[in-house]
Symmetry: C2
Subunit: 306 residues, 2 copies
Amino acid sequence: MSTREDAIVKWFASRSDSSRQDFPIGIGDDMAQVYLGADKSVLVTTDILSDGVHFDLKKTGLEQVGYKAIAVSLSDCAAMASVPVGAVVSVVMPRGYGKKELKELHNGIVKSAKKFGCQLIGGDITCWRGDGPFVINVAMLSRPAGGKPIERSGAKVGDYICVTGELGGSDAGRHLSFEPRVKEAIQISRMAHINSMIDISDGLSSDLNRICSSSGVGAIIEAKRIPISQAAQQKKKPLASALNDGEDFELLFTLPGKECEGLLSRWKGEIGLTRIGQITDRCKMQIKLRDGRLNELKIEGYDHLS
Amino acid sequence: MSTREDAIVKWFASRSDSSRQDFPIGIGDDMAQVYLGADKSVLVTTDILSDGVHFDLKKTGLEQVGYKAIAVSLSDCAAMASVPVGAVVSVVMPRGYGKKELKELHNGIVKSAKKFGCQLIGGDITCWRGDGPFVINVAMLSRPAGGKPIERSGAKVGDYICVTGELGGSDAGRHLSFEPRVKEAIQISRMAHINSMIDISDGLSSDLNRICSSSGVGAIIEAKRIPISQAAQQKKKPLASALNDGEDFELLFTLPGKECEGLLSRWKGEIGLTRIGQITDRCKMQIKLRDGRLNELKIEGYDHLS
């Protein structure tokens, strides 16, 4: 029960011999955590985006690309309920790009980062020698918001499964301009005891599978509860779109039922919170359809290696 | 007196409003430093390498590419006299690449990292949708070795200028298999008071200019003192090669004369240390040729944006 990408990440993780003391969180979560002594730690994530895969420079300006590249990493910070601190950005530019293009990119980077108190603190700029596409990598540092960062692997049998916002149809435009759920994640983690969390980057089915697989549990979600976005409702298969479209960048988290009820009743955030299902002890994912039938929930989100 | 790359980095730095308290070292040095409270800080660097620019996959295996990508960032850790801690690695792969290729890459990454106690702690893997070249980004974290990290900008008038090892001709092969000077940097910084340091990634002339320019000083180096590598001596212009070839990944540092004399007399490292010149109060770089003439030292190292 895993995508090719998840399988290779597991292989990498299995080869790691980093100590849990120095690296409380290692390969396989949204961010790794490095313990520095004196009760201080830092988290780090890296995301690489390229023209033709994550954006299309024929239709999209460099400012939007800069915004998105930072927002993707901010979403990882959110997934751990951590506070973004600083980012280093690397780019490989097509020949002919220069100061003008870098300034456009910088505008987007700063627009995205500043919104969440994150600083651009360094980078690396190179050029293709011949023809070559634009590539940007963001590595971002964050710090725990107070308690421990929230891992994927902590889901418990019986937990309720919740999401922020609405799902699906991000490819219609939202994937370039989304708001990472940094503030919501910190707020949620302060209002309730969250057992596991991830951001939905590759589609609900894929990212719920990551929680289940790393927690050793299963899940049942209910079709009628899934918050389907307006954009997904325009599509031929709105539910499939909400389940499998990538780049929602909403939060997916699990917590004990009572904690969930308390959270939902006290939640006053602008972004909705919705309970969509429950964690089970069977190592599989299922979806209860509107007609009551229980189907297998297939992992049909975006696989970076397929 | 700056390359296109340095000019744009200065522009980025001028736009930054990060506080010196939270970020003691920001844009424009080998690494940025993030202060985390309780006397703890972390340094971070990012380097992006791509096929056809930094290596040629027609001639070079992925294991060597992984080794080099990590070694380049380790060299940045060395340049600050800091201790490597962990790295996150992103790759964009040509279509058709899979587990086999990633394992080869992983071998090289681990070979390079383990040598210096650095752990692979996370990453991101994506694929081109159509044709596209292999790209790898390494973001590395380090911690101060004890005292303050050594910046580029601390060179003082009268400082002696030193380098480790031998320069030039790295393109003949050494650029893929070099040993980053992590241990030497820490040792040097413990044996003497170093005012400024950088690693020679783009050629002595370019990197000495970075020290001069950020310190507001000039420099005179002596041709007869430059340690020219065997590989550079095979070239048509060995001195020019030692001055301007990129990817030596040796250390270039400045320190008061007396400190330098003490260091050189007590130095027992395997890698040679050579005094090559002196920092001056004139904001230009000069080279004393073997015949005694004093010429301008032109910045002819590798410019990533030209």
